[in-house]
Symmetry: C2
């Protein structure tokens, strides 16, 4: 076992052991075009020796020389949000065939961490960046530092096309409408609505969709049944928010037969509150969520929700950046892309037809 001072086997070690030059070894092992000129015997000898010595090419040296890191940074705002995982895995699936290494980073909803990672992305010469966004970061540095370095970016969950950044979003308006329409179709008229926090860009369009669907269904939304989540800086994920909002709702005078929650975690909080108050879901009150995250799938009753095609979106984002890397290598400048993914209603067990016409009321 030959070992050099660095502790790793290098091309030089192999070259010496084979009695040939470093170049030859490199050509053979990296399967360069020239390698078809290398004598079959030599080729085999080199390969054998590399295997025998346990050689692994040094990614740093290689990237330095090739000026390609074969790396794509994936910056998620918080991995502990179950929302992120399918996206990340989708991205991973998309990247694998091209053998890019996803450099997965978790900002843990901390602005400072986020900036730190941004710096690292630059230093590690990531060839592209995919950002899974939330309200945590103003886009300032992102634009200033990364785009300046001509690295393709895709941002998921935010429209930054006017800053020339490829953006991928869910059609929140359509989703919000779907959710409301579902409840209305089930006969609900007194529907409580928990809106998302103001800072979150999903909140407004989703609310707009809800209003639009209400108008279309001829249902009037009782202002007193509309609440807004506070800005969830902590890791409460909306569960806590939903819990508190629903408690407030239950304490109020207004009756309701259904709750349209901002997202699944909120919905789960709502269900907890309803349960505390002795109201069962969906018999006494229907609850609908948004996102279709794991906890909503495995809860009982399963949460009716608006599914986001997260895996597909991740895959798409990966495809985009890889295409753009190619395009930029060719010297041309691609168009800025914008896509609204279409959500889908997923009826599970947390919603049902309204009891009678509205007789079953709020009190515990």
């Amino acid at each position: 076992m030959v070992q050099r001072r660095s502790g790793h086997v290098t091309l030089l070690d192999i070259a010496r052991a084979c009695g040939c030059s470093v170049s030859t070894v490199s050509i053979v092992l990296s399967e360069a075009p020239l390698s078809k000129n290398v004598a079959a015997a030599t080729r085999e000898r080199v390969r054998e020796m590399a295997r025998h010595l346990g050689y692994h090419p040094d990614a740093y040296a290689r990237s330095l020389r090739r000026r390609r890191s074969q790396t794509i940074a994936v910056l998620a705002y918080d991995l502990s949000d179950p929302f992120c995982i399918p996206l990340v895995q989708g991205i991973q699936s998309g990247l694998k065939p091209a053998s890019y290494l996803p450099l997965l980073m978790d900002a843990q909803t901390k602005r400072k961490l986020f900036d730190n990672y941004l710096r690292m992305i630059l230093e590690r010469r990531a060839e592209a960046v995919i950002v899974i966004a939330s309200w945590i970061f103003e886009e300032t540095n992102l634009l200033a530092d990364i785009e300046k370095n001509k690295v393709p970016i895709v941002i998921i969950g935010r429209d930054l096309t006017e800053k020339k950044i490829n953006s991928m979003l869910i059609d929140n308006q359509a989703g919000g409408a779907m959710a409301f329409t579902h409840l209305a179709t089930m006969g609900h008229r007194r529907i409580a609505i928990i809106r998302g926090p103001e800072e979150l860009l999903d909140s407004a369009p989703r609310w707009k969709g809800v209003q639009q669907a209400a108008a279309q269904a001829g249902v009037v939304i009782d202002e007193r049944l509309v609440l807004q989540l506070p800005s969830l800086t902590d890791s409460a994920f909306g569960f806590e928010g939903g819990l508190r909002a629903a408690r407030k709702l239950l304490a109020g005078k207004q009756s309701f037969t259904a709750v349209l929650a901002f997202d699944d975690m909120t919905a789960l909080g709502v269900i907890r509150a309803l349960s505390e108050a002795g109201r069962r879901v969906p018999e006494d009150c229907s609850v609908i969520g948004f996102d279709d995250v794991l906890p909503a799938r495995v809860a009982t009753p399963g949460i009716t929700t608006v599914h986001q095609p997260l895996h597909e979106m991740g895959l798409q984002a990966a495809t985009w950046v890889m295409e753009e890397i190619k395009v930029r290598q060719a010297g041309t400048q691609g168009r800025v892309r914008l896509e609204y993914a279409q959500p889908e209603l997923l009826v599970r067990a947390s919603t049902t037809r309204a009891a009678e016409d509205g007789k079953r009321q709020s009190q515990a």
Copy 2:
């Protein structure tokens, strides 16, 4: 904006712009010991220019030269298992102060992906590896390739001390005992038990703990109420497994007032099945889980479970590897470590006292 052919600003660019040598620039910007000798004026000029040009050191060149990657690989068997996330975040927290970059990799329960990432870890010259294990991988390559390269390893969830790998485990036996004792204390006598899949190393000790606690409590375990999960190669996470197991249980003749599930996801599946059969939790049947993952916390009723201090374990693992890196740099060889983390019973709402003495029985 000076740009070189590589598209990135280098030390040379700054040197030229400042009219000094690359060395000086390097010394200033990397705050080498020598930098105290550099004239204050020069220092300022260089810094200013670096900022102005948007310089970011090339991590590849730097690592190559310094022979340190400042990188620690974190290889998780599957990020979509909510179990992994707190571990990962704990590791992250531990690594941050030392400014190591966690190279987060998600094997997605695929053996091939796992091997691929292992290779990349070697090529990227990670200074240490933390593996969040499951039954997916035989430890073969892990030992053969990584340890051979003298890279410190910590494995979480498996005892590989005999192969000289630092191991961190949960005390499954104690945990299993806790869970059973809790149910017994609540007056349950007819307790169904869903054991973990055979390949999972947690399964055996957990079961042993259960048996031991049963003996101690003077409760006999009815063999006919003991089921085992199949090997969950797919992403079903035990939810599906728990669902099916509980259905089988319910279809059987044996009555039971409580179910001790292998883990939280299993417990959630069990609850779904019970609900299908019209049995309520915890009134008609208590259910206890294991792990304390997010879905168990936000479900209603909240799942009583055996909490694993995952965040702390991750933190600890990070500390270990960083210490070992230091130790090995000093030339000495550290001892192989083994630690059993202590679980903790977390009583929530899915368990309650047995109704009467066992009158409430199985039928739907």
